[in-house]
Protein backbone atom coordinates (compact mmCIF):
# COMPACT_ATOMS: atom_id res chain seq x y z
CA UNK A 1 0.00 0.00 0.00
CA UNK A 2 1.52 3.35 -0.97
CA UNK A 3 0.00 5.13 2.02
CA UNK A 4 1.80 2.75 4.37
CA UNK A 5 5.19 3.30 2.79
CA UNK A 6 4.61 7.05 3.04
CA UNK A 7 3.51 6.65 6.66
CA UNK A 8 6.70 4.79 7.41
CA UNK A 9 8.98 7.72 6.59
CA UNK A 10 6.77 10.66 7.38
CA UNK A 11 6.30 9.83 11.06
CA UNK A 12 9.98 9.67 12.00
CA UNK A 13 10.55 12.88 10.00
CA UNK A 14 7.73 14.66 11.84
CA UNK A 15 8.89 13.42 15.23
CA UNK A 16 12.45 14.46 14.45
CA UNK A 17 11.30 17.94 13.40
CA UNK A 18 9.30 18.38 16.60
CA UNK A 19 12.14 16.99 18.70
CA UNK A 20 14.46 19.56 17.13
CA UNK A 21 12.00 22.38 17.83
CA UNK A 22 11.80 21.33 21.45
CA UNK A 23 15.43 20.32 21.80
CA UNK A 24 16.52 23.82 20.80
CA UNK A 25 15.01 25.14 24.02
CA UNK A 26 15.82 24.44 27.62
CA UNK A 27 19.55 23.84 27.37
CA UNK A 28 21.19 20.56 28.26
CA UNK A 29 23.43 19.39 31.03
CA UNK A 30 21.32 20.66 33.90
CA UNK A 31 20.56 18.31 36.76
CA UNK A 32 17.37 20.27 37.39
CA UNK A 33 15.26 21.73 34.58
CA UNK A 34 17.14 23.89 32.05
CA UNK A 35 15.03 26.77 30.75
CA UNK A 36 17.42 28.68 28.51
CA UNK A 37 15.41 30.37 25.78
CA UNK A 38 12.08 29.35 27.31
CA UNK A 39 11.63 32.32 29.64
CA UNK A 40 12.52 36.02 29.38
CA UNK A 41 15.29 37.85 31.28
CA UNK A 42 14.84 38.99 34.85
CA UNK A 43 13.02 42.33 35.04
CA UNK A 44 10.89 43.71 37.87
CA UNK A 45 10.13 46.69 40.06
CA UNK A 46 9.25 45.76 43.63
CA UNK A 47 9.33 47.10 47.18
CA UNK A 48 11.99 45.34 49.24
CA UNK A 49 11.72 44.23 52.85
CA UNK A 50 13.46 47.47 53.88
CA UNK A 51 10.67 49.46 52.24
CA UNK A 52 13.03 50.66 49.47
CA UNK A 53 12.34 50.18 45.75
CA UNK A 54 14.10 47.12 44.31
CA UNK A 55 14.71 46.46 40.61
CA UNK A 56 16.37 43.65 38.65
CA UNK A 57 19.36 45.93 37.98
CA UNK A 58 20.04 46.00 41.73
CA UNK A 59 20.55 42.24 41.63
CA UNK A 60 22.77 42.04 38.51
CA UNK A 61 26.28 40.72 39.02
CA UNK A 62 25.37 37.53 40.85
CA UNK A 63 23.00 34.64 40.12
CA UNK A 64 19.54 35.19 41.57
CA UNK A 65 16.98 32.59 42.56
CA UNK A 66 13.41 33.94 42.49
CA UNK A 67 10.53 32.34 44.40
CA UNK A 68 6.90 33.48 44.53
CA UNK A 69 5.24 32.69 47.86
CA UNK A 70 3.61 34.17 50.98
CA UNK A 71 4.66 34.15 54.61
CA UNK A 72 1.43 32.54 55.92
CA UNK A 73 2.14 29.58 53.61
CA UNK A 74 1.90 26.44 55.75
CA UNK A 75 4.07 23.99 53.81
CA UNK A 76 5.31 24.73 50.27
CA UNK A 77 7.13 27.99 51.01
CA UNK A 78 8.97 27.01 54.21
CA UNK A 79 10.08 23.76 52.55
CA UNK A 80 11.22 25.57 49.42
CA UNK A 81 13.05 28.24 51.43
CA UNK A 82 14.79 25.63 53.59
CA UNK A 83 15.82 23.72 50.46
CA UNK A 84 17.16 26.75 48.62
CA UNK A 85 18.97 27.93 51.76
CA UNK A 86 20.67 24.52 51.98
CA UNK A 87 21.46 24.49 48.24
CA UNK A 88 22.96 28.01 48.19
CA UNK A 89 24.94 27.11 51.31
CA UNK A 90 26.34 23.98 49.63
CA UNK A 91 27.01 25.71 46.31
CA UNK A 92 28.35 28.89 47.89
CA UNK A 93 31.14 27.13 49.79
CA UNK A 94 33.41 26.80 46.73
CA UNK A 95 32.37 30.04 45.08
CA UNK A 96 34.04 33.42 45.15
CA UNK A 97 30.96 35.26 44.01
CA UNK A 98 27.65 35.65 45.69
CA UNK A 99 24.34 33.85 45.31
CA UNK A 100 21.13 35.64 46.13
CA UNK A 101 17.55 34.52 46.71
CA UNK A 102 14.57 36.78 46.16
CA UNK A 103 11.38 35.82 47.97
CA UNK A 104 8.52 37.64 46.22
CA UNK A 105 5.37 37.67 48.29
CA UNK A 106 2.17 37.40 46.24
CA UNK A 107 0.13 38.27 49.33
CA UNK A 108 0.79 42.02 49.75
CA UNK A 109 -2.41 42.34 51.83
CA UNK A 110 -0.76 40.53 54.77
CA UNK A 111 2.97 40.63 54.01
CA UNK A 112 4.35 43.98 55.14
CA UNK A 113 8.06 44.73 54.59
CA UNK A 114 8.69 44.13 58.32
CA UNK A 115 6.94 40.78 58.25
CA UNK A 116 8.91 39.81 55.14
CA UNK A 117 12.21 40.83 56.79
CA UNK A 118 11.46 38.69 59.85
CA UNK A 119 10.50 35.77 57.63
CA UNK A 120 13.50 35.82 55.29
CA UNK A 121 16.02 36.36 58.13
CA UNK A 122 14.90 33.10 59.59
CA UNK A 123 16.15 31.13 56.58
CA UNK A 124 19.40 32.72 55.38
CA UNK A 125 21.21 36.01 54.95
CA UNK A 126 21.15 35.43 51.23
CA UNK A 127 17.35 35.67 51.12
CA UNK A 128 15.73 39.06 50.46
CA UNK A 129 11.99 39.61 50.65
CA UNK A 130 10.00 41.90 48.36
CA UNK A 131 6.47 42.53 47.25
CA UNK A 132 4.34 44.94 45.18
CA UNK A 133 0.74 45.72 44.37
CA UNK A 134 -1.41 42.84 43.13
CA UNK A 135 -1.45 44.34 39.60
CA UNK A 136 2.35 44.61 39.49
CA UNK A 137 2.68 41.08 40.85
CA UNK A 138 0.26 39.82 38.18
CA UNK A 139 2.45 41.37 35.52
CA UNK A 140 5.63 39.93 36.99
CA UNK A 141 4.29 36.40 37.50
CA UNK A 142 2.74 36.42 34.03
CA UNK A 143 6.15 37.23 32.57
CA UNK A 144 7.44 33.97 34.08
CA UNK A 145 4.31 32.03 33.13
CA UNK A 146 3.32 31.74 36.78
CA UNK A 147 0.16 32.80 38.54
CA UNK A 148 -1.41 33.06 41.98
CA UNK A 149 -4.94 33.12 43.35
CA UNK A 150 -6.66 33.63 46.68
CA UNK A 151 -9.04 31.18 48.37
CA UNK A 152 -12.11 32.15 50.39
CA UNK A 153 -11.26 33.49 53.91
CA UNK A 154 -12.33 31.31 56.86
CA UNK A 155 -14.02 32.60 60.06
CA UNK A 156 -10.67 33.98 61.30
CA UNK A 157 -10.02 35.86 58.06
CA UNK A 158 -7.27 33.43 57.04
CA UNK A 159 -7.19 32.49 53.39
CA UNK A 160 -5.13 30.17 51.27
CA UNK A 161 -3.04 31.39 48.33
CA UNK A 162 -2.30 29.24 45.28
CA UNK A 163 1.11 30.12 43.88
CA UNK A 164 4.02 28.81 41.87
CA UNK A 165 6.11 26.19 43.65
CA UNK A 166 9.13 26.63 41.39
CA UNK A 167 12.33 28.55 41.87
CA UNK A 168 13.51 30.48 38.83
CA UNK A 169 17.28 30.75 38.51
CA UNK A 170 18.79 33.69 36.60
CA UNK A 171 22.50 34.14 35.95
CA UNK A 172 24.56 37.23 36.83
CA UNK A 173 23.38 38.92 33.59
CA UNK A 174 19.74 38.26 34.42
CA UNK A 175 19.19 35.51 31.84
CA UNK A 176 16.83 32.66 32.73
CA UNK A 177 18.86 29.46 33.15
CA UNK A 178 17.16 26.84 35.31
CA UNK A 179 13.97 26.00 37.09
CA UNK A 180 14.04 24.17 40.43
CA UNK A 181 10.93 22.04 40.92
CA UNK A 182 9.77 20.54 44.20
CA UNK A 183 11.00 17.17 42.93
CA UNK A 184 14.61 18.34 42.39
CA UNK A 185 17.12 17.32 45.05
CA UNK A 186 19.18 19.84 47.03
CA UNK A 187 22.35 18.23 45.59
CA UNK A 188 21.11 18.77 42.02
CA UNK A 189 20.12 22.34 42.85
CA UNK A 190 23.55 23.07 44.36
CA UNK A 191 25.32 21.58 41.34
CA UNK A 192 23.33 23.73 38.90
CA UNK A 193 23.79 26.85 41.03
CA UNK A 194 27.55 26.31 40.89
CA UNK A 195 27.39 25.77 37.15
CA UNK A 196 25.37 28.95 36.62
CA UNK A 197 27.60 30.98 38.95
CA UNK A 198 30.68 29.83 37.08
CA UNK A 199 29.29 31.11 33.78
Amino acid sequence: MPEHSVGRWIRPVLMLALALVLGACGGSGYQTKGIEGLLPDLAFRLTSETGEPLTAEDLRGAPTVVFFGFTHCPDVCPTAMARIAAATEAAGEDLDGDLQVLFVSVDPGRDTPQRLADYTDFFSDRVTGATASVEQLRELTKRYRATFGYGEPNEFGDYNVSHSSAMYVFDARGQARALFRPSDSVTAMAADLRRIAEG
Partner: protein, 272 residues
Protein backbone atom coordinates in the same frame (compact mmCIF):
# COMPACT_ATOMS: atom_id res chain seq x y z
CA UNK B 1 -20.04 45.26 33.15
CA UNK B 2 -16.44 45.34 34.33
CA UNK B 3 -16.46 41.59 34.68
CA UNK B 4 -17.71 41.22 31.12
CA UNK B 5 -14.98 43.50 29.80
CA UNK B 6 -12.37 41.52 31.75
CA UNK B 7 -13.73 38.28 30.34
CA UNK B 8 -13.70 39.53 26.78
CA UNK B 9 -10.10 40.72 26.99
CA UNK B 10 -7.49 38.21 25.84
CA UNK B 11 -5.07 37.06 28.54
CA UNK B 12 -2.26 36.70 25.97
CA UNK B 13 -3.23 38.64 22.83
CA UNK B 14 -2.11 36.72 19.74
CA UNK B 15 -2.16 38.59 16.46
CA UNK B 16 -2.06 35.44 14.27
CA UNK B 17 -5.07 33.93 16.09
CA UNK B 18 -6.99 37.19 15.99
CA UNK B 19 -6.21 37.73 12.29
CA UNK B 20 -7.11 34.14 11.38
CA UNK B 21 -10.50 34.38 13.14
CA UNK B 22 -11.24 37.80 11.60
CA UNK B 23 -10.29 36.53 8.15
CA UNK B 24 -12.40 33.38 8.58
CA UNK B 25 -15.48 35.40 9.56
CA UNK B 26 -15.09 38.17 6.97
CA UNK B 27 -14.37 35.82 4.05
CA UNK B 28 -17.48 33.79 4.83
CA UNK B 29 -19.60 36.93 5.21
CA UNK B 30 -18.29 38.34 1.91
CA UNK B 31 -18.97 35.00 0.22
CA UNK B 32 -22.59 35.15 1.40
CA UNK B 33 -22.92 38.76 0.26
CA UNK B 34 -21.60 37.78 -3.16
CA UNK B 35 -24.38 35.28 -3.57
CA UNK B 36 -23.21 32.03 -1.95
CA UNK B 37 -26.15 30.38 -0.16
CA UNK B 38 -24.78 27.93 2.38
CA UNK B 39 -28.11 27.74 4.23
CA UNK B 40 -28.87 28.62 7.83
CA UNK B 41 -27.46 25.57 9.63
CA UNK B 42 -24.11 25.36 7.82
CA UNK B 43 -23.60 29.10 8.37
CA UNK B 44 -24.48 28.76 12.05
CA UNK B 45 -22.16 25.75 12.40
CA UNK B 46 -19.29 27.64 10.74
CA UNK B 47 -19.63 30.80 12.80
CA UNK B 48 -20.10 28.81 16.01
CA UNK B 49 -16.90 26.87 15.27
CA UNK B 50 -14.86 30.03 14.68
CA UNK B 51 -16.45 31.76 17.71
CA UNK B 52 -15.59 28.83 19.99
CA UNK B 53 -11.97 28.79 18.81
CA UNK B 54 -11.75 32.53 19.40
CA UNK B 55 -13.38 32.25 22.83
CA UNK B 56 -10.94 29.66 24.18
CA UNK B 57 -7.85 31.49 22.91
CA UNK B 58 -8.58 35.22 22.90
CA UNK B 59 -10.69 35.79 26.01
CA UNK B 60 -9.96 35.51 29.72
CA UNK B 61 -10.78 31.80 29.38
CA UNK B 62 -7.22 31.37 28.10
CA UNK B 63 -5.95 32.37 31.54
CA UNK B 64 -7.64 29.30 33.02
CA UNK B 65 -6.32 27.15 30.17
CA UNK B 66 -2.81 28.13 31.14
CA UNK B 67 -3.17 27.57 34.87
CA UNK B 68 -5.59 24.65 35.23
CA UNK B 69 -5.06 21.27 33.59
CA UNK B 70 -8.82 20.68 33.29
CA UNK B 71 -9.38 24.05 31.59
CA UNK B 72 -6.44 23.29 29.28
CA UNK B 73 -8.03 19.99 28.28
CA UNK B 74 -11.31 21.76 27.54
CA UNK B 75 -9.43 24.30 25.44
CA UNK B 76 -7.87 21.52 23.39
CA UNK B 77 -11.22 19.76 23.09
CA UNK B 78 -12.51 22.91 21.40
CA UNK B 79 -9.35 23.53 19.33
CA UNK B 80 -8.91 19.97 18.12
CA UNK B 81 -12.39 18.51 18.21
CA UNK B 82 -15.42 20.77 18.55
CA UNK B 83 -14.34 23.96 16.70
CA UNK B 84 -12.85 22.29 13.60
CA UNK B 85 -15.71 19.72 13.70
CA UNK B 86 -18.30 22.51 13.36
CA UNK B 87 -16.29 24.34 10.69
CA UNK B 88 -15.74 21.19 8.60
CA UNK B 89 -19.37 20.15 9.03
CA UNK B 90 -20.37 23.44 7.35
CA UNK B 91 -18.14 22.53 4.34
CA UNK B 92 -17.35 26.20 3.80
CA UNK B 93 -15.01 25.82 0.79
CA UNK B 94 -17.56 27.05 -1.78
CA UNK B 95 -18.60 30.08 0.28
CA UNK B 96 -14.98 31.01 1.02
CA UNK B 97 -14.02 30.59 -2.64
CA UNK B 98 -16.90 32.87 -3.69
CA UNK B 99 -15.47 35.56 -1.44
CA UNK B 100 -12.11 35.51 -3.21
CA UNK B 101 -11.57 37.72 -6.27
CA UNK B 102 -11.41 35.74 -9.53
CA UNK B 103 -7.73 36.69 -9.81
CA UNK B 104 -6.91 34.97 -6.53
CA UNK B 105 -9.01 31.94 -7.45
CA UNK B 106 -6.91 31.57 -10.61
CA UNK B 107 -3.63 31.38 -8.67
CA UNK B 108 -3.47 27.56 -8.61
CA UNK B 109 -3.49 27.61 -12.44
CA UNK B 110 -1.15 30.62 -12.82
CA UNK B 111 2.65 30.90 -12.64
CA UNK B 112 2.59 29.54 -9.09
CA UNK B 113 0.98 26.30 -10.30
CA UNK B 114 4.02 24.10 -9.37
CA UNK B 115 3.88 25.42 -5.80
CA UNK B 116 0.17 24.69 -5.53
CA UNK B 117 0.80 21.27 -7.06
CA UNK B 118 3.41 20.52 -4.39
CA UNK B 119 1.10 21.77 -1.64
CA UNK B 120 -1.70 19.61 -3.00
CA UNK B 121 0.57 16.54 -2.92
CA UNK B 122 1.63 17.21 0.68
CA UNK B 123 -1.99 17.80 1.63
CA UNK B 124 -3.10 14.55 0.03
CA UNK B 125 -0.35 12.64 1.84
CA UNK B 126 -1.44 14.12 5.18
CA UNK B 127 -5.03 13.22 4.33
CA UNK B 128 -4.33 9.53 3.76
CA UNK B 129 -6.63 7.89 6.33
CA UNK B 130 -3.84 6.04 8.11
CA UNK B 131 -1.65 9.14 8.40
CA UNK B 132 -4.61 11.37 9.30
CA UNK B 133 -5.62 9.00 12.11
CA UNK B 134 -2.07 8.65 13.44
CA UNK B 135 -1.61 12.42 13.35
CA UNK B 136 -4.94 13.06 15.07
CA UNK B 137 -4.15 10.78 18.00
CA UNK B 138 -0.42 11.50 17.79
CA UNK B 139 -0.66 15.23 18.50
CA UNK B 140 -2.79 14.56 21.58
CA UNK B 141 -0.25 12.06 22.95
CA UNK B 142 2.70 14.20 21.93
CA UNK B 143 1.61 17.35 23.76
CA UNK B 144 0.48 15.33 26.79
CA UNK B 145 3.90 13.71 27.23
CA UNK B 146 4.73 15.19 30.65
CA UNK B 147 8.19 16.57 29.73
CA UNK B 148 6.93 18.09 26.47
CA UNK B 149 3.80 19.42 28.17
CA UNK B 150 6.03 21.10 30.75
CA UNK B 151 8.01 23.03 28.13
CA UNK B 152 4.92 23.88 26.08
CA UNK B 153 3.18 25.42 29.07
CA UNK B 154 6.34 27.22 30.20
CA UNK B 155 7.30 28.94 26.96
CA UNK B 156 4.73 31.28 25.46
CA UNK B 157 6.03 30.59 21.92
CA UNK B 158 5.75 26.85 22.32
CA UNK B 159 2.31 27.33 23.87
CA UNK B 160 0.99 28.99 20.72
CA UNK B 161 2.81 26.49 18.51
CA UNK B 162 1.06 23.68 20.41
CA UNK B 163 -2.36 25.32 20.06
CA UNK B 164 -1.86 25.91 16.34
CA UNK B 165 -0.86 22.29 15.73
CA UNK B 166 -4.01 21.14 17.54
CA UNK B 167 -6.24 23.46 15.53
CA UNK B 168 -4.69 22.71 12.13
CA UNK B 169 -4.69 18.97 12.72
CA UNK B 170 -8.32 19.16 13.88
CA UNK B 171 -9.27 20.98 10.68
CA UNK B 172 -7.44 18.42 8.53
CA UNK B 173 -9.06 15.47 10.25
CA UNK B 174 -12.66 16.64 10.40
CA UNK B 175 -12.44 17.96 6.85
CA UNK B 176 -11.48 14.46 5.72
CA UNK B 177 -14.41 13.01 7.66
CA UNK B 178 -17.03 15.45 6.36
CA UNK B 179 -15.81 16.08 2.76
CA UNK B 180 -18.76 15.64 0.39
CA UNK B 181 -17.46 17.19 -2.82
CA UNK B 182 -16.39 14.82 -5.62
CA UNK B 183 -14.12 17.41 -7.21
CA UNK B 184 -12.32 18.36 -4.00
CA UNK B 185 -8.60 17.86 -3.41
CA UNK B 186 -9.35 15.97 -0.18
CA UNK B 187 -9.51 12.19 -0.71
CA UNK B 188 -13.17 11.18 -0.73
CA UNK B 189 -13.51 8.17 1.55
CA UNK B 190 -16.47 5.83 1.53
CA UNK B 191 -18.81 6.20 4.53
CA UNK B 192 -17.61 2.83 5.80
CA UNK B 193 -13.96 3.93 5.81
CA UNK B 194 -14.87 7.20 7.51
CA UNK B 195 -16.70 5.35 10.28
CA UNK B 196 -13.85 2.86 10.62
CA UNK B 197 -11.38 5.73 10.99
CA UNK B 198 -13.64 7.40 13.58
CA UNK B 199 -13.85 4.12 15.49
CA UNK B 200 -10.09 3.53 15.36
CA UNK B 201 -9.19 6.87 16.89
CA UNK B 202 -11.44 6.23 19.89
CA UNK B 203 -9.56 3.54 21.88
CA UNK B 204 -6.25 5.43 22.10
CA UNK B 205 -8.06 8.56 23.29
CA UNK B 206 -10.12 6.57 25.80
CA UNK B 207 -6.97 4.80 27.04
CA UNK B 208 -5.10 8.08 27.51
CA UNK B 209 -8.06 9.80 29.20
CA UNK B 210 -8.61 6.85 31.52
CA UNK B 211 -4.90 6.65 32.34
CA UNK B 212 -4.83 10.32 33.33
CA UNK B 213 -8.10 10.06 35.27
CA UNK B 214 -7.08 7.02 37.29
CA UNK B 215 -3.42 7.88 37.75
CA UNK B 216 -2.83 8.31 41.47
CA UNK B 217 0.19 10.54 40.88
CA UNK B 218 0.40 14.11 39.72
CA UNK B 219 1.52 13.66 36.09
CA UNK B 220 1.69 17.29 35.00
CA UNK B 221 3.99 19.05 37.40
CA UNK B 222 3.92 22.28 35.43
CA UNK B 223 0.64 23.38 37.01
CA UNK B 224 2.19 23.14 40.48
CA UNK B 225 5.32 24.81 39.25
CA UNK B 226 3.46 27.74 37.70
CA UNK B 227 0.64 27.88 40.21
CA UNK B 228 -3.02 27.13 39.58
CA UNK B 229 -5.71 29.71 38.79
CA UNK B 230 -7.23 29.07 42.21
CA UNK B 231 -6.51 26.67 45.07
CA UNK B 232 -7.73 23.24 43.90
CA UNK B 233 -6.58 19.73 44.71
CA UNK B 234 -4.06 18.86 41.94
CA UNK B 235 -5.42 15.34 41.56
CA UNK B 236 -9.00 16.58 41.24
CA UNK B 237 -7.88 19.00 38.53
CA UNK B 238 -6.07 16.16 36.78
CA UNK B 239 -9.07 13.82 37.07
CA UNK B 240 -11.43 16.38 35.50
CA UNK B 241 -8.88 16.93 32.72
CA UNK B 242 -8.60 13.17 32.20
CA UNK B 243 -12.38 12.82 31.95
CA UNK B 244 -12.51 15.59 29.34
CA UNK B 245 -9.79 13.82 27.32
CA UNK B 246 -11.69 10.56 27.67
CA UNK B 247 -15.46 11.01 27.35
CA UNK B 248 -16.43 14.06 25.24
CA UNK B 249 -13.43 13.53 22.95
CA UNK B 250 -14.51 9.96 22.21
CA UNK B 251 -18.17 11.01 21.96
CA UNK B 252 -17.24 13.29 19.07
CA UNK B 253 -16.36 10.17 17.05
CA UNK B 254 -19.82 8.74 17.72
CA UNK B 255 -21.52 11.98 16.75
CA UNK B 256 -19.45 12.24 13.58
CA UNK B 257 -20.28 8.64 12.67
CA UNK B 258 -24.02 9.38 13.04
CA UNK B 259 -23.64 12.44 10.82
CA UNK B 260 -21.68 10.46 8.19
CA UNK B 261 -24.49 7.86 8.18
CA UNK B 262 -27.13 10.58 7.93
CA UNK B 263 -25.35 12.06 4.90
CA UNK B 264 -25.18 8.61 3.36
CA UNK B 265 -28.93 8.08 3.84
CA UNK B 266 -29.68 11.57 2.55
CA UNK B 267 -27.55 10.86 -0.53
CA UNK B 268 -29.50 7.66 -1.15
CA UNK B 269 -32.84 9.48 -0.81
CA UNK B 270 -31.80 12.12 -3.31
CA UNK B 271 -30.50 9.43 -5.71
CA UNK B 272 -33.82 7.60 -5.56
Amino acid sequence: MNTLVTWLQPWEPSLPVFAACALAVSLYAIGMMRGATPGFWPALSYFAGVALIYAVTQTHYDYYSQYLFSAHRLQHLVLHHLGPFLIALAMPATVLATALPARVRAWPRGPAAPLFGALRRVYRILQQPFIAGVLFVGVIYFWLTPEIHFDAMLSIDLYWFMNWTMLLDGLLFWWLIFERNDQAVTPRLSPGRRILLLALIMPPQIALGAYITFSGQNLFEIYDVCGRAFPIDPLLDQQIGGLITWIPAAMMSVMAAIIVLAFRLQGRDSDA
